[in-house]
């Protein structure tokens, strides 16, 4: 079984956010981590490797430094890393990103593609399903559990909603988008790190993408235009109170709301 996990390097929420003049994120200037939902998806893939000996490839699109998340994935147990990087791909929205990743995936063999539900920087949850659409694959989003039946070539997924869940089955190949509940990511191993740093990362540019049109790539190919972007306004430290009784607490809150003319 071959599994491809699409991962994204995203700004570390512990660090500050920096923007380019065009409103896109200045990724080169920020601390970066592997997107948490993608990491849960990687864990699910590594469990399939533990159980069935699946070959796990991690794929990312980004700046050359995005290779760091591929090395992290390899240090956790992934077999191969593919980095798609090219100046013409920069500033891509979800449409241009999914077009690019689908173009890269057409070069790879897969039974199952796993993406994170959404990235913590864009929060769109669009890229995974769009990739599936480009490739003509079934997609199951919001997966919190995943089982593969290798013999029957099908996947069973528990799909989460706010108040219920669905049990869905799809035949392979298909694409699943992962919630963080899909798996608590394992740690890297020290030896895995040493191997990962020496591992060769396959690097592809625009010309390596299969069956894609330039008009759908990069900032120029992105229908989404960012009008304005700003860092969130930091809230004050707030006020901590420890009222003696629930009645006092209610009285305090009503007083505050009244003070702010909220009621």
């Amino acid at each position: 079984m071959k599994v491809v996990v699409c991962v994204k390097q995203v700004p570390d929420t512990k660090g500050g956010v920096k923007f380019n003049p065009d409103g896109t994120l200045d990724r080169a200037a920020m601390l970066a981590i592997m997107n948490p939902d993608d990491k849960a998806g990687l864990e699910a893939a590594l469990k399939l490797k533990d159980k069935y000996g699946a070959e796990v490839t991690v794929l990312t699109m980004g700046l050359p430094k995005a290779a760091d998340v591929l090395r992290e994935a390899i240090a956790m147990g992934a077999d191969k890393g593919v980095l798609v990087t090219d100046r013409v791909l920069g500033g891509a929205d979800t449409w241009a990103t999914s077009t690019t990743i689908a173009g890269a995936l057409r070069n790879l063999e897969y039974d199952l593609i796993i993406t994170g539900r959404q990235a913590i920087d864009g929060d769109t949850a669009q890229v995974g399903p769009q990739i599936a659409e480009h490739l003509g694959l079934p997609v199951i989003s919001y997966a919190e559990e995943l089982e593969v039946d290798e013999a029957a070539k099908k996947v069973t997924v528990k799909r989460q909603f706010d108040d219920r869940y669905m049990m869905l089955e799809a035949s392979l190949p298909c694409l699943v988008t992962a919630l963080s509940e899909l798996g608590e990511p394992r740690y890297m191993t020290p030896g895995g790190i040493f191997d990962a740093v020496d591992a060769e990362i396959t690097t592809w540019g625009r010309n390596d993408l299969k069956d894609v049109d330039d008009s759908n790539l990069g900032l120029a190919g992105s229908p989404t235009k960012i009008a304005k972007a700003s860092d969130k306004v930091r809230k004050g430290a707030g006020e901590k109170v420890t009222p003696d009784s629930p009645e006092d607490a209610v009285k305090y809150i009503i007083g505050k709301l009244d003070e702010k003319h909220a009621i």
């Binding site: 090395r71 992290e72 240090a75 394992r186 740690y187 890297m188 191993t189 020290p190 030896g191 895995g192 790190i193 040493f194 990962a196 740093v197």
Partner: protein, 388 residues
């Protein structure tokens, strides 16, 4: 000469830091308070390869280097001195001598499970009458047919009751050295569960309280002849070689404790207000922190340099790292004691309260000046090399 870490070591450090914060830190208070061996953390360390960091892959290890191992002990000790020493004793004092002096059969049987983390290791040299003076050994081993018969006891043994494999030293006879009759000491590998091998008192310690420090008792304990480690009579050399490496582990533990206390104190002085402003704004605090940080940095360079020297030794056994290890341990241990003491002082009354981490760190730091060779022994090793 490089003073920056390469990518491998940077990634390894971030792994150890994340693991320490997620796994070891939440248990540190309880480990200390209840003298509880943090088995769940050790099991996780085993699962992710931490118990075999500097051991080659073909021997079940991770194939990394001594520097990586030292960084693991350092990061763990930043949040929990107990967890740091568990790893140090296992790796430096048990796996290392078997890797260095063991036969292929001994490596297959003992080193591979130790490196994979399936077994935990310990080391027994110290006896009630034999601390710094290894010649004071009373534990005896007598060859009887195909078995060695051990009688005697060892004390203050780290990982004591929790380990599975023990490197034990015992007197196997007498030899003449420079006209004097000396005890002949040999090293052995003893497995837990061997009839005649039992545990005595558990020590109630000032610090590193979760590390399972026990007395080991051998009463007609029979082990196979093949469990002699290295040559008969070479036990003293094996012990000294092992302690040279062990000192790098303890130096890393001391470094971690100092760093942990410094980080905790920096955060505290920013929050703590007196006379209407944070105590970080007082020049005394600033100067104390500056001194602490400078010493911590110097200790780190010494520890890393000793670790790199041991790495060189693995490629070229003619190189000695004994003096560097002694200097690193001496300095880092004294820095740990000084920095943790100052950290308590900067915390004021809160620093004396169990709830605050620096209180534990100061108690944990003291042992680094004592075990695996006291600071005085390190000075003997260092001066011995200067005056030979």
């Amino acid at each position: 000469m490089e003073f920056t870490l390469d990518k491998k070591h940077e990634m390894a450090r971030s792994l150890f830091r994340e693991f320490a914060l997620n796994e070891a830190k939440p248990l540190a208070q309880q480990t200390d308070e209840e003298e509880r061996f943090p088995r769940e953390t050790v099991d996780k360390m085993a699962k992710f390869g931490f118990l075999g960091i500097p051991i080659p892959k073909e021997m079940g290890g991770q194939g990394c280097d001594v520097l990586t191992y030292a960084m693991a002990v350092e990061e763990l000790s930043k949040v929990c001195g107990t967890t740091g020493v568990i790893l140090s004793a296992h790796t430096s004092l048990c796996a290392d001598p078997i890797m260095t002096f063991g036969t292929p059969e001994q490596k297959e049987k003992y080193l591979i499970p130790l490196a994979k983390g399936e077994k935990l290791g310990a080391f027994g040299l110290t006896e009630p009458g034999a601390g710094t003076d290894a010649q004071g050994q009373q534990t005896k081993a007598v060859l009887d047919g195909d078995e060695w018969v051990l009688n005697g006891s060892k004390c203050f043994i780290t990982n004591g009751k929790e380990a599975d494999v023990y490197v034990i030293f015992a007197v196997t006879g007498k030899i003449e050295k420079r006209g004097k009759m000396m005890k002949e000491i040999s090293a052995f590998i003893v497995e837990k569960g061997t009839p005649g091998f039992s545990f005595g008192v558990k020590e109630n310690k000032m610090g590193i309280r979760g590390s399972s420090t026990y007395e080991l008792i051998f009463t007609d304990c029979r082990i196979p002849k093949g469990n002699l480690l290295g040559q008969q009579g070479k036990g003293f050399n094996i012990a000294m070689h092992t302690l040279d490496g062990g000192r790098i582990g303890i130096a890393a533990q001391a470094l971690g404790l100092a760093e942990g206390a410094l980080e905790t104190t920096i955060a505290y002085v920013k929050e703590r207000k007196q006379f209407g402003r944070s105590i970080a704004q007082f020049q005394n605090t600033q100067f104390e922190l500056a001194n602490m940080a400078t010493k911590v940095q110097a200790a780190q360079y010494m520890v890393y340099s000793a670790a790199c020297k041991k790495d060189e030794y693995t490629k070229n056994p003619k190189i000695s790292y004994s003096v560097e290890a002694a200097m690193a341990k001496l300095y880092a241990a004294e820095v740990a004691m000084e920095v943790t003491t100052k950290a308590v002082q900067l915390h004021g009354g809160y620093g004396y309260i169990r709830e605050y981490d620096v209180e534990r760190m100061m108690r944990d730091a003291k042992i680094t000046e004592i075990y695996e060779g006291t600071s005085e022994v390190q000075r003997m090793v260092i001066s011995g090399s200067l005056l030979k």
